[in-house]
Amino acid sequence: MQLPAGTYNISYGKDMAVVRTKTQWGLLIVLLICLFTVVPLFANGFWLSICMSIAIGTITVHGLNIMFGYCGLPSLGHFGFMAIGAYATALLTSNYGLPFWLAIPCAGIAAAIVGGFFGLGALRIKGFYIAVTTLAAQFIIGYIIVTFPDITGGIKGIHLPTPKLGSIVFDTDKVFYFIPMVTAVLMTFFALNLSRSRVGRAFVAIRDNDIAAQAMGIRLFPYKMLAFCIGCFYAGIAGSLLAYQITHISAEAFTGGWALMESIWLLGTLVIGGMGSTVGPIFGVILVEGLRQFSTWAGPELSYAFPNMASSLQAAFSPLLFGIVLMLFLVFEPRGLAHRWWLLKTSYRLYPFST
């Protein structure tokens, strides 16, 4: 990677540092201050909810990125693993009264265990077989949620208690905002460092060619399992946060064809953002959230224009738009927004000598 002019690596620690220059430190601090003071102080409810959706989406897509982008294990059931996280949170908090800071990691672990179970075959099966196995996992999870309404509440659902920490009650969006955002920042940091570690490099080797990786001494089964578990852990955390955000979860939101579509959207988001990079998921989630908001705005407008198909067009506009955008990305920029960002950065660094 090209460094900014005048930056030299004079020690190993410097070479490995994530944040390299004073400008980068400054930008990072400004970004964090913006996220944690400016946004909650000045944003209204609408923008707060968008920011929270972006935070939660980022966590999920990071998980998917670790599985698919780094380790090459496609998951078509990520929303199903989110559902596991959501239900684990709901059950733990409403039945056993766990505090939220304990319930969220527990939800992640629950999702990781379930995901690991479906990943058990991951050593033997490959590629599309894994994709369809996770798709199957999603249907099975949905079936379990619907079939055992005594535990999961079925259609009626479960209501989550308001998260509390000491005297702070996270009951309004302005206060609750901090939980998903802090988690998202931490999880992003973890994902970034994971990709630079021994484990991350092993994942990349497995993705590029698993037989070659095995020949180099990387044991496939533990690493593939680990990728599965970490990916599902992320999904579980995100599901838990989602449950807290919507405060009431029911079978309708997590099952059936709807859930499958949601999983495919997540995969598409990853592709739009750029697989195998840590900034990719963030870009992807922001763009897709933008598309979602645009289509909720444009759907009604369109239905004025074509009144004879009004109701159906409102429901269908966002999948139509997303499908087209995703196809265009795959045709014209299969490496996603992250690649564009990288090009932009490189050309900025070499300015005025860049093309």
């Binding site: 159906s312 269908a316 995703l326 196809m327």
Partner: protein, 297 residues
């Protein structure tokens, strides 16, 4: 025992439909390397086009079948031009993701034209086809619905037609050559893009026919597409590369489907299919008839 036989019969009847849809997946995959998840949506589109021609336009059922097949052929061919042509030759996961994008897009298209929340039914067919009365045929203690026989018959005819096509026609030979080794086939003068287009068109035809039969049985909604996805389980049980495997996988899925809905519960249907699929994959990772590829680094 009668109940068991009846369930088995029903399972075979529906299983052949899943088998046909699964064959569509396999044909597309073998000829072009596209693991086309949008196949499920094509199932729904086939059902909806048939409904459109039959109910509002009021055409004769036999004519409808041919028109649906023609429309599906055209749709498949169009899909090969966009979005598949620009990405052809890229990694399999790129193709796979393109098919996911297509799936979302087509679902949106179906919803925007025919709306999501209505169940539609074909108009009763006995006006045009006198033998098609709603009463089931009886063989001893077993009963078969005529619509099942129609579906079974159509599916079998289609399978036989494809078998003959792949075995005896020149294009069929080109197909087999491409699935064997696309590079060598290309160097011998076979147009890869044409074969891909044809594969997608045939896949769409097969899917559309499956959609019509499923629509006859369950009514027509967007969610017929999810039933079409259950054929994925059939594909993987049989093995991705095997057409015979797809048909047998379909039969297994059909039988599992009808048995489990009766013995376990109504809603388990396609979930049971997926559970069986996972079990099979644990034991035989490449499916029952799939090739175990010898890979080189």
């Amino acid at each position: 025992m009668t109940i068991f036989m009846q369930l088995l019969l029903a399972g075979i009847m529906i299983g052949i439909v899943y088998g046909v849809i699964a064959v569509g997946f396999v044909i597309v995959y073998k000829a072009s390397g596209i693991f086309n998840l949008a196949q499920g949506e094509l199932v729904a589109i086939g059902a909806f086009i048939a409904w459109q021609l039959l109910n509002p336009f009021g055409l004769h059922p036999v004519l409808v079948i041919f028109l649906v097949l023609a429309a599906a052929f055209a749709i498949g061919w169009l899909l090969s031009i966009f979005p598949f042509k620009p990405v052809l030759g890229q990694s399999m996961f790129t193709l796979f993701t393109v098919s996911l994008a297509l799936m979302i897009f087509l679902r949106g298209l179906v919803i925007s034209i025919w709306s999501a929340n209505e169940i539609r039914y074909f108009r009763p067919l006995q006006d045009d086809l006198p033998f098609f009365s709603p009463a089931p045929l009886r063989f001893g203690e077993l009963a078969i619905y005529r619509q099942d026989i129609l579906g079974f018959g159509l599916a079998t005819i289609l399978l036989l037609a494809f078998w003959a096509f792949f075995k005896y026609s020149r294009t069929g030979l080109a197909f087999r050559a491409v699935s064997e080794n696309s590079h060598i086939a290309q160097s011998l003068g076979i147009s890869l893009s044409k074969i891909t287009a044809l594969a997608l068109a045939i896949g769409a035809m097969v899917a559309a026919l499956g959609g019509v039969i499923l629509g006859l049985k369950y009514g027509i909604t967007v969610y017929v597409a999810d039933l079409g996805l259950a054929a994925l389980a059939a594909v993987l049980i049989g093995g991705l590369e095997s057409i015979t495997g797809a048909i047998i996988g379909g039969l297994i899925i059909g039988i599992v489907f009808s048995m489990s809905t009766y013995y376990i519960g109504h809603s388990i249907g396609d979930v049971a299919a997926f559970i069986v699929m996972i079990a099979v994959l644990f034991v035989r990772p490449h499916g029952l008839f799939g090739q175990k590829r010898i890979e080189r680094v």
